[in-house]
């Protein structure tokens, strides 16, 4: 299981909220990306948190600088709406692009990206919010705008359209440090054969352990708060996933 550092960026700052609201500044995106890389993280995700406000991605300059020093896969997301946007993102140094609104508005964009650049470079970004009926609805704009799409249906549509991975963010768990939404992961894993990157809820090693013990592994876990607030290092998280007994002792 890979461990990915997720950096949500707003106006040149890495920010962090709870359930994607109440955002606080936590640091400089370049400095944090480099620090997490040096500490052994597997991948970096840069997510433009204000892309929908400007309807474009504002992080290309950060990406260009980051990939001079960070030699692991970098994914960029937020505000990518066309094949040209994706082409620019890859030229700026991204290995993968995460698409949410762009796919909701025009699902054929996913197929265009996949056939031009390969499925391995397109990540379907899904913001899932639990509904009163126990199922999940897909949201855009940092969990603010409902799409009317059922998350499990939407994941299948994204896979059929050609995404190589699914970044699945639990809006309910995001920033709470209360643990992952294991029901969401299990349901998602059962409807797709793509690797799922589970995002939202990591609070302590016991949460990783619960994930491993559940038997429904994600392809990767994306973490933010735990790194930003120095509760664990990337190397410790990686060691925990390799050896659940350590996670038990640390929990």
């Amino acid at each position: 299981m890979r461990i990915i550092a997720r950096l949500d960026v707003k106006n040149e700052w890495v920010i962090k909220g709870i359930r994607m609201e109440g955002l606080r500044k936590v640091g400089n995106p370049l400095e944090l990306a480099e620090a997490y890389y040096k500490a052994g993280i597997h991948e970096i995700i840069f997510m433009d948190a204000v892309a929908s406000l400007y309807d474009r991605n504002n992080l290309f300059h950060i990406l260009e600088e980051a990939c001079e020093k960070v030699f692991i896969p970098i994914t960029i997301g937020g505000g990518l709406r066309s094949l040209e946007d994706v082409s620019s993102a890859l030229a700026a140094g991204a290995d993968k692009v995460a698409i949410n609104t762009g796919a909701v508005k025009n699902l054929s964009l996913v197929g265009e990206i996949a056939s031009r650049f390969g499925s391995q470079c397109i990540v379907g970004s899904v913001e899932a919010k639990r509904q009163v009926d126990g199922l999940w609805q897909a949201y855009v704009d940092n969990g603010r705008e409902p799409t009317g799409l059922d998350v499990l249906d939407w994941i299948q549509m994204l896979e059929a359209a050609g995404v190589g991975e699914i970044l699945l963010t639990s809006v309910d768990q995001e920033g709470t440090r209360q643990g992952f939404d294991l029901d969401l992961l299990t349901a998602a894993n059962s409807v797709t054969s793509c690797p799922v990157i589970l995002s939202g809820g990591y609070g302590n090693p016991g949460h990783l352990n619960a994930l491993i013990r559940s038997g429904h592994l994600p392809g990767a876990v994306a973490v933010a708060s735990v790194l930003h607030y120095g509760q664990a290092s990337p190397a410790e998280l990686i060691e925990h996933t390799a050896n659940p007994a350590i996670a038990d002792a640390a929990a």
């Binding site: 990939c67 030699f71 290995d95 056939s115 390969g118 391995q120 470079c121 991975e165 799922v196």
Partner: protein, 211 residues
Amino acid sequence: MINIGVIDYGVGNLRSIANALKYVGATPVVSDSADTLMRCERIIFPGVGAFAFGKAALLAKGLHKVVFSAIADEKPLLAICAGMQLLFEHSSEFGNHEGLGVIPGQIDKFDVRAAGVQSARLPNVNWLPLTKSHHVDGLAGELLADVTDDSRFYFVHSYHAQSRGPHTVATSNFAGQTFAAAVGKGSLFATQFHPEKSGPDGLIMLEKFVG
């Protein structure tokens, strides 16, 4: 400083490779001109994406000549990911396609159902260790010299080369299957993983390549 020619046939993120080469002290020459590339002392044959698309793009610009001439001249050549796969004879990715035929063997999709492994999903996006073959010589021997049991490399692929081939120099495991993680033949070294995306372990390999 040694000029490293990076074959630009319109696939993938070449900025990362160029940056990694600069980081280890080389001067990358990213070009789609066969003449320019053939003047470089060492060649990198990168690539991501579909086999047939890559093959067509390579041939359209006559860049396969760069690969063949590097091999003929025993010039150090590093092929990465789809670049490695294109060196084989055939691939079954979206139909049956001929490769460059430099390495004997066939590229096939992982059979994840046969594995019966619940967590095996395609693409194989993972950091994996390598198992080195015995008696590896040539460029492969040099570049694999510092790889230990603790080294990890970044893979992203759904298709793979069989591990039993005569030129396999390192293997890895995915979904219960052993596959060729790297092949080598004289001055040619080819990796299924991405050394330019594999952190310090990958940079060590690139540093050795640029000499």
